[in-house]
Symmetry: C2
Subunit: 351 residues, 2 copies
């Protein structure tokens, strides 16, 4: 079993009887096993997975673990800067990191549409293996189902994961205090506009790429300098606006944001203007919002900016006692407006 992802990329794909997924790949028999051997075990190989039981048994210390899951249905499955594969790995890694957990083990479950080229599945699995390696997690168990042509759309992936929450870390809305600082780890709306620019066939001077990445390393850096991190969440579907509304409502506090301080790439801003989107509502896949004690904000910001996934980190606002449950934006021209939760579906199948 080849456990070296980089080398694996240079190897020819093992000869398979089929070039595309057929229903029998999901039948639990010979073809299912061949698919597992030739694609999944080939790239995800690790001792726990290789036992090929229906579940993986893992050692844990007494304490707290986090459990999280997400399904990925993004369309297209390949897009600038990424694939549905690393999205599925990074997304669950990030959900765990937002619980203050150190992600350790992931499961990966595939729903494949009959007719999916095996080469596309392989590219996705290679991307997942690489993303797992970067994030320091192992994919230890999984499942594959196949549905007839027209009953799914190429591939849907559901990842679940467990992580260990070190003592002392508590991410709870009830920890959020008035006066706390609201921070973002970088530019917003990259992922959503990367998907939309492909779908709309737009070309910009500089290609807009997904920001999909694993944020667990960044979170560790932040905890290394402060234990006053009161809340973390990654603003995915619904964007920064919806996430801040969720936080304001669950904490029963108001949130005030300064529009000018929210980092947006110029190319992304242009794309948003052309397509009529507000970047505050566009999905991110590699950003986090942190609510921290004000006295620690500057040192947390400093370590974030030194991290590769936090170079554009910024303080964007404050938690206030006024207007509980409501997010207010101080606009660039100096006015104040309410930022609502997204109500409709702005961008279907963004993740």
């Amino acid at each position: 079993m080849n456990n070296d992802i980089t080398n694996s990329l240079n190897c020819p794909v093992p000869k398979n009887d089929y070039d595309t997924i057929v229903l029998a790949h999901g039948g639990g028999g010979t073809l299912t096993h061949r698919l597992i051997e030739q694609i999944f075990k080939r790239y995800f190989s690790n001792p726990e997975l290789n036992l090929m039981h229906d579940g993986a048994v893992l050692n844990v210390e007494k304490g707290r673990i986090a459990l999280s899951t997400d399904s990925y249905v993004v369309s297209p499955i390949f897009f600038p800067g990424g694939t549905i594969g690393e999205l599925a790995v990074n997304g669950t890694v990030n959900d765990l990191a937002m619980c203050g957990a150190q992600p350790t083990y992931l499961s990966a479950s595939f729903i494949l549409e009959e007719g999916l080229p095996l080469s596309e599945l392989e590219s996705i699995v290679v991307a997942m293996a690489a993303a797992a390696e970067r994030a320091g997690v192992k994919i230890v168990t999984g499942d594959t189902k196949v549905v007839p042509r027209g009953k799914a759309d190429k591939v849907f992936i559901t990842t679940a994961g467990v992580g260990v929450v070190p003592p002392g870390r508590e991410i709870l809305p009830s920890r959020i205090r008035s006066g706390d600082t609201v921070m973002i780890s970088g530019t917003i709306a990259d992922h959503g506009m990367a998907i939309m620019s492909v779908r709309e066939g737009l070309e910009f001077e500089s290609e807009i790429q997904t920001d999909s990445c694993a944020l667990n390393g960044l979170v560790e850096e932040m905890y290394a300098v402060s234990s006053n991190i009161n809340f973390l969440r990654d603003p995915t579907r619904g964007g920064v606006a919806s996430t801040l509304n969720e936080i304001a409502q669950s904490a029963h506090k108001g949130i005030r944001i300064i529009e000018q301080s929210v980092p947006v790439r110029e190319s992304v801003r242009s794309a948003c203007e052309i397509l009529g989107f507000d970047p505050l509502y566009v999905a991110n896949e590699g950003k986090l919002i942190a609510i921290v004690a004000p006295e620690d904000a500057e040192k947390i910001l400093a370590v974030m900016r030194r991290h590769q996934y936090g170079t554009d980190a910024a303080i964007i606002g404050t938690v206030v006692e006024d207007h509980p449950g409501v997010v207010m934006l101080r606009t660039t021209i100096g006015g104040d407006r309410v930022v609502d939760m997204i109500s409709g579906e702005q961008l279907p199948r963004i993740c």
Copy 2:
């Protein structure tokens, strides 16, 4: 939040703006939150889930945990004796139990097709909540995605779960010894034929029902009388034949089965004959195969038969040194034949 499943069934469904799933239910905004409140939190309610973070934080003791996942794409989603909902809960509970684990927490991730009636989703969620209660597990986190009409088929559910493996329990192919006894916990092929009889519009004198149930309680009873349980697996897709082949191959042992000793309901046997299926290859969703030390076989069989999900348990064969990797069947008429792993797709979308 109403945590009583039985009572909830008698309550009117809260008024929703929509009777069917729309894309915005997956948008991460207001409608997503309403769906979570009115369907998922309503029935799955528990302290961990109610925090509504992207992951759940759980306490564990030092030791071993098992992680497992499965996706469910069964068609139809409602069938005699069950729905895709309890299948998804019981399936992951059983995968954990087959690791020797005591299942504790589940995640549930939904991929919904635009146009799915909310009432159908509600019935499925009610079935999941009831199944979780029966199995003694909590659904603590989840996700919902919506895809446009024609890009999925009503609803796909992926569950993942964690369980605690008590000290001393080891389910490993390497523990299987020649001379070990092969047991099954009850009649085979019920689930597969329940699905097929609906699909084919067949009516039998007695309706064939799914055997979907949670086997963790049965496994605990077995461990209570013996620590010589060397291997456990639930024969789902591909049936008993494929599962025994997997076991024989991973243990590098032969397996001999006596056809007459394998319990099959009369109605199921008739349905198999009419439709041309071999019950050994038809899926089960509430049965387990146990490979145990021969000296403990009778006492394990006795506790299985006293359990509601093991009344028809039987000793069906033996592990042998001969023909490693091969499963041989002594037929009713006295001949011997090789039982291969299923090669094609006998029954698509059975689970």
